[in-house]
Structure formats: structure tokens, C-alpha cells
């Protein structure tokens, strides 16, 4: 979707503001927000792709004004309600009002080290051979789906070169919507700055994206 999250090339946000000796958290609630987001994901009700799409669906004015932990929490509330774990009315009231859906698992303290060390690999085998090889010229598709995609707007309908075949991975455009993992080959595709940004672009700049095979057409 062409949501507020798709920020590459947008203007008007001012300078980057690095904070010297920045702490990991700026408030206690940010710590709880991190833990709640990971614990919520562990319930097994949704995938990382669905959670990203929930964040993208936060209304633009709210998204662009929020810190990232706030974005996580706003999306988590939506996901918890969608999957029957907690209703908004309960969160507003701050107390349990109904029995939740049955989770696949509950993340307990003694599981945390193992869960974090394992992570959630999303490479999956595919039966087909890669359609493209390093050095191939490719053009990204031009589309504007209302659903989840990981092809940024700035990199649509652009010509680049395949630099690497990176393996085969869960296809987020499907997986975010419960349509299955449907893995595809993923390629690193490099674009010259002027191909993306046109007149006045920095000629010393190249930008790469990691693109699922169905984002690409042979030139």
C-alpha cells in the first residue's frame, strides 16, 4: 500500500537528529512496549508481515507524528483485537472483560533467551530455479496495490542490475494477508542514482533493494 511508512525520497522532515550517547529507552513505557510487542508476536496469531502491514495502516498524520514504539503499540492493539486476544474496550478500561482466543504459545521468562537466540528465519525452499542471475538487467514492476508490498514507491518501474541471488524467502505480499508463505527467490537489485531520482541526482550514488522475483521483469 502507498502508506505513510513508504518514506524513501519524501521531503520536509528536516535534518536527522542523532542523539549523543542515546539510551536504549527514553521512558519506562518504551521498555514495556518492546516486551509487549515481542510477547504479542509469540502468541502466534499473526506473522511479522501482518504486523508490518498493521503499522502501515496507521493513519498518516498519526504515523508521522509517532515515535516508533508508539507505532508498535498502536498496531499491536489492532492485531490483538483482530485475532480475538483483547478488545479495544478492554484496553480502554484497563481490565479483562472477556475470555481471549487460545494462543499457540505464551512467552514465559525462561523461554526468552532461547526464543531470541533462535529468531524467526524466513528462508524457505522453492522448487524452481532462479529466473535471474547476477548481471541481468531487470525492470521493477509498476503497481500500486492497496495491500502489503515491500517494493517501495521510489523503486517502481525502474531499471537496475541484479547483483546477487540471495536465496528464497516467504513472500510478504501474500503472507501479510493470510494467503500463505508462497516463497520466491529474492535478488539484490542495484539502481544508479539518476535512474531513480532523475535530473540533478548524485552520479556517485547507487541504491539497492532486495526484491522478490515477482517484482521484476527482464529487460
Amino acid at each position: 500500500m502507498n502508506g505513510p511508512h513508504d518514506l524513501g525520497g519524501q521531503m520536509g522532515f528536516g535534518p536527522v537528529a542523532p542523539e549523543k550517547d542515546e539510551p536504549y529507552f527514553h521512558a519506562e513505557w518504551e521498555k514495556r512496549a518492546l516486551g509487549l510487542t515481542l510477547s504479542g508476536g509469540a502468541l502466534g496469531g499473526w506473522t511479522i508481515d501482518e504486523s508490518r502491514h498493521a503499522r502501515e495502516n496507521i493513519p498518516p498524520a498519526q504515523y508521522l507524528g509517532a515515535s516508533y514504539y508508539e507505532i508498535w503499540i498502536r498496531a499491536l492493539e489492532v492485531l490483538l483485537e483482530r485475532h480475538g486476544f483483547a478488545a479495544r474496550t478492554e484496553i480502554d478500561a484497563g481490565r479483562k472483560q472477556m475470555e481471549p482466543a487460545v494462543p499457540k504459545r505464551i512467552l514465559k521468562a525462561d523461554m526468552v533467551a532461547g526464543v531470541l537466540a533462535r529468531g524467526g528465519p524466513c528462508d524457505r525452499p522453492v522448487e524452481s530455479e532462479p529466473r535471474f542471475q547476477p548481471g541481468d538487467q531487470v525492470r521493477t514492476r509498476n503497481f500500486n496495490p492497496e495491500t502489503h508490498t515491500r517494493l517501495p514507491r521510489y523503486a517502481r518501474a525502474k531499471t537496475g542490475v541484479v547483483e546477487a541471488v540471495q536465496g528464497s524467502f516467504v513472500f510478504p505480499d501474500d503472507n501479510a494477508h493470510g494467503k500463505g508463505e508462497n516463497p520466491q527467490w529474492v535478488y539484490t537489485v542495484v539502481f544508479d542514482g539518476p535512474e531513480i531520482w532523475g535530473e540533478g541526482a548524485d552520479p556517485t550514488l547507487t541504491v539497492s533493494i532486495d526484491a522478490w522475483e515477482s517484482y521484476l521483469e527482464r529487460v
Binding site: M11, Y24, A33, G35, L36, P100, I106, T188, T204, S208
Partner: protein, 217 residues
Amino acid sequence: MSTHNHHHHDHDHDYGHGHDHDHDNRYSDMQARVKALETVLTEKGLIDPMAIDAIVDTYETKIGPRNGARVVAKAWSDPDFAAWLRTDATAAIASLGYTGRQGEHMRAVFNTPDTHNLVVCTLCSCYPWAVLGLPPVWYKAPAYRSRAVIDPRGVLAEFGLILPETKKIRVWDSTAELRYLVIPERPEGTEGLGEEALADLVSRDAMIGTAIAGPRP
């Protein structure tokens, strides 16, 4: 902890409660909202507050940019390890004990005299947690995410890094599940240093690409 820290833009927001709030209210609102969420989920038996404590402790004390700095120092010191990083960064990094969440599929990208690498996630906040820990606020904020791909030299200048005009810049937008670690160039005059001393020269920002390696200013 303070509820008076400000990390937002300097204008008011309406964020769904039907009336505007100033920033002190915004921060304390989030504190109340997150507290309510934790209370409800705990009452429902869906979360373990001790697990949250353990997650926070992990990223405050165990997993941070020192991990990545050790990877870089070893790459500088051991050509075989550097070669392994180029061909299978996930395995090479795992051999040092750094694995797991947001480090499942690692790629190491090496700065050279000709090319400087810079990593961004324009679409969200993808970041190599296993080697760098949690990302800084600026990495997840619109200014960096919007400009890193179109004006990387301007962004780097805001970090105090002015690159020669002839130096090529390669920006890696983390649009899939690969997570990128920049291997900065080894500073001159460091031939005699061991790996721990070398790691001291490698900042978090040098491994994102918004700095180069060297003594802390």
C-alpha cells in the same frame, strides 16, 4: 525515568482521542496506555511480565553494538574470517555466538577506498539486532528513512562525515529479511592492536555507515 522527555516534532497532534494534546500529555498518555495493555494481557494470562523484564534486560545488557564491533575487529585481523563474512555472513557471525532475532539472514558489506556503504530501512525499521542491538531513534524516524536514499551525502554531513566528492556511495535499503552490517575500513596506524582494542574503534554508527571507524571523538 521522566515523562517529560520530548522526542517528537514540535507541533501538536490529534491522535485519536478526539482532542489535541501537548507532548507531556502525549508521553504520559502512552505510559498509561501501555500500562493498561500490559494489565489486560496479564489478567488474561497471555503474557508473562517477567518475560518482558527478560527481553528488556537482554537488549540493555547482553545484545548491543559491541557484538558487531567484535565481528569487524575479527574481520580486520583474520583474512579467512573476512572471506567467510563475504560468502556466508550469517554463519561467520554465528561462530562468534551472535545469532537470532533480526540477525537470521546476515550480509556483511565492506567499505573500500572507492565506495562507502550506508544502510537504511525506508519502509519500517529493519536493523541487525543480533549484532547492533536495538536501533537508535533517528534510524527509525522519517528524516533518516526519507533522505538516506536520495541525499546520503547531506545525511552523512549531519553526522559530521564529509566524504570526498569522488567517493561512491552505495545505499542498501533493507526491503527484505536480509540484515546488513557495514564493515568499515580499518584505520591507519592500528597494525599492532589486538581484537578488543580494535573493537574499541568501531562505533555503532560506523556499522550502519553514518560514521567511519576511529577513536571516539
